[in-house]
């Protein structure tokens, strides 16, 4: 049997590239998690509360995003839009693609949570004199988010792993760092082993953190009248 000599020092020479990659992956994830959350709530609200005709654009957006590949969406924003005079940098295009993509998936998840709200609760809140906005926030949205929180958390982790695709438009995130190092030292096994482990650690921490985070993010506060 041939022996394989592992040489990890060939990778640690590139520590700054790796660190920068980790930082950018975390940055993309944060942008996607926050932006995707806001877009998701807006779309979920529009699709359950807006007048029926006004719902169409949101339905179209969500269906369009969920039925096309992320890589193609990203290429369209980066390589396609310049033809219309809109020039986004690789990082800008990646942020936008991630927010649009995560937002669409989040809105479907949140909509499921919202649909599970019983009519009786809304009527009870209305009879207590809460405004429509307060009812949506306290009676519909927050309990709905609590119901679907694990799904939302897993969406963020999936999105973090998907952000590896952004390496294709020259964003120097973790996968880019891996391919860059590999293209310099040809140590594919060691390089991708380390990149895989870093992704695993990042996902594991993110998942642990997110699954617990609803306890302090979605605290039930006492609602005072109007």
């Amino acid at each position: 049997m041939a022996t394989i000599s592992l040489d990890f020092s060939a990778i640690f020479n590139y520590t700054p590239v790796l660190l920068r990659g980790i930082f950018l992956t975390i940055e993309l994830t944060l942008v996607g998690a926050l932006g995707g959350f806001v877009v998701g709530v807006l779309c979920a609200w529009a699709r359950t509360n807006a007048p029926p005709r006004a719902r169409y654009p949101f339905v179209a957006y969500v269906e369009f995003i969920r039925n096309t590949p992320f890589l193609v969406q990203l290429f369209f924003l980066f390589f396609g839009l310049p033809s219309l005079g809109i020039r986004l940098s690789g990082f800008q295009a990646s942020c936008l693609a991630i927010i649009l993509n995560t937002g669409a998936y989040n809105s479907e998840i949140m909509r499921a949570g919202i649909d599970a709200t019983s009519k009786g609760q809304i009527e009870a809140a209305a009879s207590l004199g809460l405004t429509r906005v307060l009812i949506f926030f306290h009676v519909v949205l927050v309990p709905a988010l609590k119901r679907v929180w694990p799904a939302l958390a897993s969406q963020v982790v999936l999105m973090m792993l998907d952000s590896s695709v952004c390496s294709q438009v020259s964003v120097e995130e973790l996968t880019f760092a891996g391919s860059f190092i590999q293209s310099r030292n040809f140590r594919s096994f060691e390089t991708y082993l380390i990149i895989t482990c870093i992704y695993f650690i990042l996902s594991y921490i993110a998942r642990r953190f997110l699954l617990k985070s609803d306890e302090w993010l979605l605290v039930r506060r006492k609602v005072t009248h109007g």
């Binding site: 049997m1 041939a2 394989i4 980066f78 390589f79 396609g80 310049p82 033809s83 020039r87 940098s89 690789g90 390496s167 294709q168 438009v169 020259s170 120097e172 880019f176 391919s179 860059f180 590999q182 293209s183 310099r184 030292n185 040809f186 594919s188």
Partner: protein, 261 residues
């Protein structure tokens, strides 16, 4: 969770063990009657897919000539500039014929045959751009295919203020230029020649030449017999004028007589 980890380690262990000693690649090729060659499918005129998705280009013609003279069939595997060496190292292919340039880093992991063709690598940009030497690159963005020799060279000679944008394959590198995402592109003259024939919205002209790049056949280390056979065939192809004919056909220039290792 624990079970999952055990499976992962078992898979890793299997991977490590499966690289067992094996027969000489030349014998394998003859036994299988099949020469497996890594080629590019987006790098005209070296290797590219035609309208009917058939591979063509000077690399494909050289691969066919090699297989024909070995008396075996050829099996083409599409690769990118970044993954062609891993394909060879993991023995998914027997040879790389993919406009492969030579450098010290690569020579540590694979061997190179005698050259069979040559092009030059340069910086190309729109005609109004005033760039004629590496120092002028400061303040400009330049796209390049990650890991290609032009990437390594550009990384060395670019001044601090240059914004090098690296793409996975040549398609991305050229699209970044034609779509206006970057000011300039670092690539081979033949790639630009082919691109300009398609009459893109942005025209690229040579800003400065970086270096000549002969193309070599890549062979795994420790395959002396296969290397000898490949070199013998290349010498014959050169002597009987085949390589010159192919160079005229695809690169629109005769094979340089002083082409050597």
């Amino acid at each position: 969770m624990r079970k999952g980890l055990i499976i992962i380690f078992a898979a890793l262990a299997t991977t490590l063990c499966s690289v067992a000693a094996r027969a000489d690649t030349l014998d394998d090729i003859k036994a299988a009657k099949k020469l497996r060659v890594a080629v590019m499918q987006d790098y005209p005129p070296f290797g590219f897919a035609g309208p009917d998705m058939q591979y063509m280009g000077i690399d494909i013609d050289v691969a066919n000539e090699l297989a024909r003279r070995l008396g075996v069939k050829v099996e083409l595997t599409p690769v990118t500039g970044a993954n062609r060496i891993p394909y060879l190292q993991t023995k998914k292919v027997d040879l790389i014929i993919a406009c492969l340039g030579k450098n010290a880093e690569r020579a540590k992991v694979i061997d190179f045959s005698a050259p069979y063709a040559a092009e030059y690598e340069g910086i190309f940009g729109t005609s109004e751009l005033k760039v004629s030497k590496p120092a002028d690159l400061a303040g400009h963005s330049i796209s390049v295919s990650r890991g290609a020799t032009e990437d390594l060279q550009l990384t060395n000679l670019a001044p601090a203020g240059a914004d090098i944008r690296r793409f996975e394959d040549n398609n991305g590198t050229l699209s970044a230029f034609t779509s206006g995402q970057v000011d300039m592109v670092a690539t081979g003259n033949t790639a630009i020649m082919t691109l300009m024939k398609k009459n893109p919205a942005r025209k690229a002209v040579l800003k400065f030449k970086m270096f000549d790049e002969p193309a070599y056949v890549g062979v795994n280390k420790g395959e002396a017999r296969l290397m000898q056979t490949v070199n013998d065939i290349i010498a014959k192809l050169r002597a009987d004028g085949t390589l010159n004919t192919l160079s005229l056909k695809w690169l629109e220039a005769p094979l340089s007589p002083d082409l050597h290792d």
